[in-house]
């Protein structure tokens, strides 16, 4: 026990005395949460648009006013002919154009239907879809309003309710993702590097020759990072609650318990990498490429797994962060209890036990 304590103390000294490590350890989670929270977002704000109004009547003006007042759009200017419109798109300054044909209001009143054209710059397809949807909904709102008095037979009106995230904010979906990413990086990379460092400096040789058992060395090496990761988790949750307004809806205790499980998964991965590599650079590269990319690609936090081809969907199943992401989303955003995530927990536990067994088994009690 005394051996374990002094080992943990030593490990903390390594971390606390190295400014770079400290920065990675505690700066990265904060930076990522803030970057994802404020800079990266799927919501479109202030999309630059132009309007070509050939009607200049009540209906067209009304719709233009609604578009201009929406915070999603910034009305740059109006154009009078198609050539100007084309030039505006070519210069790349606008993303969307709305064109009202002549007699827009007259058509609407006399033929009971009118058309307007929406042209979007689809070089970024997601962006184009999003902005055209915004315009459609504005137009629908307007047509719903003018139809208020008239009774139309056989009308179906969908009543839409966005569960768990009624305002469709971006933050609730990425906070769990960032948690998975940060824990993965910190645990895997830090443990791998810290063990490989001992190999590089030759202190591992002395530790091996000491009476400490290999199991004890591994546990003492991993324990400090478990603690540091829990501190990181706490800081992420605090930021998420107070800065991004995404509080934990479910049980905090359950969330921490599941996170501890995931941290242990990552620690065993880190130990495994450290056993298989012999230089800090290689360990770092493998941790970054081998852990960060799959986490970003396959956890479902950036790209929906359902959209992927089947082989990739199958691969995503072996990425532990995917299961952790689902668990965190369920607890934190949906506020559900253990019964909703027992399957994911079981998978994660299995992975952890397998990884732990492999890394303990392959830890060498001798050199080479």
């Amino acid at each position: 026990m005394k051996q374990f304590l002094i080992f943990v103390k030593k490990e903390f000294a390594h971390v606390l005395r190295d400014r770079k490590t400290l920065l990675i350890l505690f700066g990265m989670p904060i930076a990522q949460i803030l970057i994802f929270g404020f800079a990266l977002s799927n919501e479109v704000k202030n999309a630059r648009i132009v309007v070509m109004d050939q009607a200049k009547d009540d209906a067209s003006r009304n719709i233009i006013a609604r578009i201009a007042s929406s915070h999603n759009f910034e009305l740059v200017h109006t154009v009078n002919n198609r050539r100007q419109l084309q030039a505006a798109f070519k210069s790349g300054t606008i993303k969307l154009a709305v064109i009202f044909p002549a007699n827009f209001n007259a058509d609407l009143l006399h033929q009971n239907k009118a058309q307007l054209q929406v042209i979007a710059d689809a070089s970024d397809p997601n962006y184009a879809t999003t902005v055209t949807n915004y315009v459609s909904s504005i137009v629908q709102d307007y047509s719903a309003e003018i139809n208020e008095q008239t009774v139309i037979p056989y009308r179906i009106i969908p009543q839409i309710r966005m569960l768990y995230n009624p305002q469709l904010k971006g933050a609730p979906s990425f906070v769990p993702g960032v948690m998975a990413l940060v824990l993965m990086l910190v645990c895997v990379m830090m443990t791998a590097i810290s063990i490989v460092k001992e190999k590089e400096t030759g202190t591992m040789e002395i530790l091996l020759v000491s009476p400490m058992s290999p199991l004890m060395i591994i546990i003492s090496k991993a324990a400090p990072y478990l603690l540091l990761s829990l501190i990181n988790l706490t800081s992420i949750l605090l930021l998420s609650t107070f800065v991004l307004d995404v509080p934990v809806k479910g049980s905090l205790l359950l969330l921490f318990a599941e996170s501890t499980l995931f941290i242990i998964t990552c620690l065993s991965l880190g130990i495994f990498i450290s056993i298989k590599t012999s230089s800090q650079q290689v360990a770092m590269l493998i941790s970054l490429m081998g852990m960060m990319l799959p986490t970003i690609l396959f956890s479902g936090f950036m790209f929906p797994i359902e959209n992927m081809p089947l082989p990739l969907q199958l691969i995503s199943n072996i990425v532990p962060s995917k299961w952790y992401y689902i668990i965190v989303k369920t607890i934190m955003i949906k506020g559900l209890g253990f019964t909703a995530i027992w399957k994911e927990t079981l998978i994660l536990t299995g992975t952890t036990l397998a990884l732990l067994a492999i890394s303990l088994k392959s830890f060498k009690i001798r050199l080479s």
Partner: protein
Amino acid sequence: MEALQIQHISKHYNGKTAVNDVSFSVSKGEIFGLIGPDGAGKTTILRVLTTLLLPDRGSATVDGLDVVNDYKQIRNRIGYMPGRFSLYPDLSIEENLNFFATVFNTTVEENYHLIKDIYVQIEPFKKRRAGKLSGGMKQKLALCCALIHKPVVLFLDEPTTGVDPVSRKEFWEMLKQLKQQQITIVVSTPYMDEANLCDRIALIQNGKLLSVDTPENITGSYPDTLYAIKAGNMHHLLKLLSTWDAVLSSHAFGEFAHVSFTNSNINEAEVISHLQQQGLENIDLKKITATIEDSFINLLNN
């Protein structure tokens, strides 16, 4: 009573032989030197003895325990100082010592008497981080850390490599003191002049033992009469000696050339006059007793 014993140990790395059929034993309380150039196999032998490597063939015991089967017990009883500086550079002297004392299940206070003489020299800097110490101080700290659990056998892998001559001398005096504490010491070194400071030595080259004996016996068994010759133009002298058929062997040794002749009763005056005829001046010739290096070169040539 033997502190350790090696029998027919061989070890290969990727098809290359590092140690080839090496056998020797070390008595309790002895300072035993493994002497040989870089790449001779010294570190491999030490790693087999410290249970860090498995030998391909042969067996070895340390304190009566087998290095393969009883490695756990051996690890409780030995001290090991690897070739390069292997302490934590970001921990202070004091923290390093405390750490290794605790890891080895002891405290600094318990065995302070063992390291006292060495530790007092670095104690004024005990708050300084190990990475910022000079070579000699690092080595003293490493020795303290290897000694703190009162090992039965202490293994030192090239402890004086990269250390200044004064610190080297001090270091060997420390080893002499440890001998008084009945600690068996196995030390490897590429410096031939350190061989005389050991009780017994093993000369190693290319993974093979050339000889195992006391330094006196090894130099005493040098077969030929040896002369040290110096001249004004050393380059010319060495060239001349290598082509002269009366010369059995010659090699440069500091400011002298160490020479033996095919006729061991050769007249000194004859040698001088021969060299003078070849145009050499200021010739200085004297009979000497062989050093370990002479013996090493002689054993290599045979």
